[in-house]
Amino acid sequence: MAAIAIPHPPVAPRRGLSTWQTWGIILLAPYVLVFLVFVLYPVTYGLWLARHPESYHTLFEDPVFFTSVVNTIFFLLVAVNVKFLLALYLSGFFVHDRRWIRWLSVIFIIPWAAPAIPTIFSIRFMLNPEWGVINSLLFRWFQIDGPNWLTNPQLAMAMAMLVHIWKALPFWTLILMAGRLAIPKELYEAASVDGATGWQKFKYVTWPSMRTLYITSTLLSLIWTLGDFNSVYLLTGGQPADKTHVLATLGIRYIRLDQLDHAMATIVVALPFVLPLVYFMMKRLSGDEQKTS
C-alpha cells in the first residue's frame, strides 16, 4: 500500500506574511463592503424601524394579517411536502438509464429555468374563469362550468401552491437525483440477490442513504418557500380582497400602503420561525466543511 499522505493543512504563508495576508484582505474587501452596505445596514435599519410595539398591535388587529398567517402555514405544510414527495418519486424515475429519459429531464427543467412572469402569467390566463383554456375546455368537452379558480380564495391558494410546485419541483428533483446517484449500485444488486422487492429496496437501501439529504432539503425549502413572492403575487396579487396574501406578499402590500413599519413588523413576526432554520442550515454546511477539510 502506498504511504498515507499526511494531508498538510494549508499554511498561511509566512514572511512576506504581509504581502499574502494583505492581498487576502484586498480581495475579500469588495464582498465585505457589499455585505456591510447592502445587508448589515439595511437589516439593522429595518429592525430599528420595527421597534414600535404599536406596529405589532395594529398588525395583529388587521384581519388581513391573520388570513396571511393561516395561508402561509397551509402553503408551507402542503406545498413543501407535496413537492418533496413528488421530487422523491420523480428522482427515482429520472435516474433510469435511458436516452429518452435524459431528454425528458432536460425538458423537465424548463419551469425552473424560465422566468416567473411569462410562466405564471400563462397559468394565470389559463385559469381565467371566463376565457381561460381550462374552463373553456371543461365546458366544451364535459359541459361543466369550471369553478372560479382565482376568485375563490381557497381555490386560488391551492392554485398558488400548484404554481409554486410547478416552478420549484425541477430544482429539488435534481438535488434528490444527485443523492440517489451517490448510492452505490452494488447495494441494490445485493438487495436483489437477497430477494428484496422494489418497495423493500427503497425502504432499506434508498431511504436510509437519502434521508439526511431529504430532510435538509425540506428545511431549506421551507425557508425559501416562505419567501416565495412570485407564486402568489403574479397569480392573484393577493386578491380577492387581500384574502390570498402570504407573509412574503404582505410585506410588500404594506410598502404599497406606505406603512413601512408594518412591513418590517410582518417580517419580524416570521423571524422566530426562519432564524432557527437558517441557523440549522448554516451549522450543517459548516459542519460538512469541517468533515471534508
Partner: protein, 280 residues
C-alpha cells in the same frame, strides 16, 4: 423476458407522459397566445384559427401603450443582467480565493455571513433593502438593482467557488510559491485557469438571477426609462382589458434568452448546483 421489459417500459411511459404534459402545458400556452389574434386567444382554443406573427411585430415596433419603451426596457434588462454577472464574478472570485487559498483571517466569519444572506428569503430582505436604497439615494437608478442583485447572488457564488477551489490540491500553491509566485501571479496564472468552469457557472447564475428578477426590480425602479422588461410586463396587469396576446408575445421574447442561456451552459451549472446548497 421481452414481456417483462415491455411492462417496465410501459410503467416508465405512464410516468413520463403526465410529467411531459405537466411541464409543457403552461409553456405551450404562452406560445399559443403569442401567435393568436385577440379573438381566438380568448376563445379557449388549443390552436388558433389563424396563427399569426403579427403580435411580435407589434412588440418590436412598440405599437402599444404598454410597449412604448419596449426596446429601452429590454436594454435595461440586458444591461442590469450583464453588470450583475460581471460584478458578482469579480467580487465572488476574489473573496473565494482569499478565503480558500490565502486563508485570510476572518474568512470563516465572512463565509458564514454570506451563507446567512443566502438562506434568508430574498423577499424578506427586500423591504429593508428598499428603505436603504432610498436612504442612499439610489432609487430609480439602475445601479440599485444591480447592487441588490450582486448582494443576493454573491453568497451562493462565493460558496460554489469555495467548494470548487477547495478541491484543488494544496501542493499546487506550494509548488507555485516555491517557484517564486507572488499572490497575484498565483491568482492569475494558476487559480483562475483552473476555475474556468465554475466561473462560467457563476456568471451565468448571476446573469439569469438578475434577468429573471421581478420583486426587487419593481420595488427599486419605477421610472419608465429605468425599468427592466420584467417590470414592464407587470404593468400590463394594471388594466383588465389589456391585450393579453401581446403580453404573451412580449413574455415569450423575455423568457427565451434565459432558457436558451441556461441550456447552453447547463453542463457548467448542474455540477455547481447539486454540490451547492445542500450536501448529502
Amino acid at each position: 423476458m421481452t414481456n417483462r421489459r415491455l411492462l417496465s417500459e410501459a410503467k416508465l411511459w405512464l410516468v413520463a407522459i403526465p410529467v411531459l404534459l405537466w411541464t409543457l402545458i403552461p409553456i405551450y400556452h404562452i406560445f399559443l397566445f403569442s401567435i393568436s389574434t385577440k379573438d381566438s386567444a380568448f376563445s379557449g382554443r388549443l390552436w388558433p384559427d389563424h396563427p399569426t406573427l403579427r403580435n411580435f411585430g407589434t412588440v418590436f415596433r412598440q405599437e402599444h401603450f404598454y410597449l412604448h419603451h419596449f426596446w429601452s426596457q429590454i436594454w435595461n434588462s440586458l444591461w442590469i443582467a450583464v453588470a450583475t454577472g460581471a460584478i458578482t464574478l469579480a467580487v465572488a472570485t476574489g473573496a473565494a480565493f482569499a478565503i480558500s487559498r490565502l486563508k485570510v483571517k476572518g474568512g470563516r466569519t465572512v463565509m458564514n455571513a454570506a451563507l446567512f444572506t443566502y438562506f434568508i428569503p430574498a423577499a424578506f430582505l427586500a423591504v429593508p433593502m428598499y428603505k436603504a436604497m432610498g436612504t442612499y439615494g439610489l432609487l430609480n437608478n439602475r445601479w440599485s438593482l444591480v447592487l441588490a442583485m450582486v448582494t443576493l447572488a454573491s453568497p451562493y457564488a462565493i460558496w460554489v467557488l469555495k467548494q470548487a477551489s477547495d478541491k484543488l490540491p494544496w501542493e499546487l500553491d506550494e509548488a507555485a510559491r516555491i517557484d517564486g509566485a507572488t499572490p497575484m501571479q498565483l491568482f492569475r496564472l494558476v487559480y483562475l485557469p483552473l476555475m474556468v468552469p465554475s466561473l462560467v457557472a457563476i456568471f451565468t447564475y448571476a446573469l439569469l438571477l438578475a434577468w429573471n428578477e421581478y420583486l426587487y426590480a419593481f420595488l427599486l425602479l419605477s421610472h419608465e426609462n429605468t425599468i427592466p422588461l420584467a417590470v414592464g410586463l407587470g404593468h400590463f396587469l394594471a388594466s383588465d382589458d389589456s391585450p393579453w396576446e401581446i403580453l404573451m408575445a412580449t413574455a415569450l421574447i423575455y423568457g427565451l434568452p434565459p432558457v436558451a442561456i441556461y441550456y447552453a451552459f447547463r453542463g457548467y451549472m448542474v455540477g455547481g448546483l447539486t454540490s451547492g446548497a445542500v450536501k448529502s
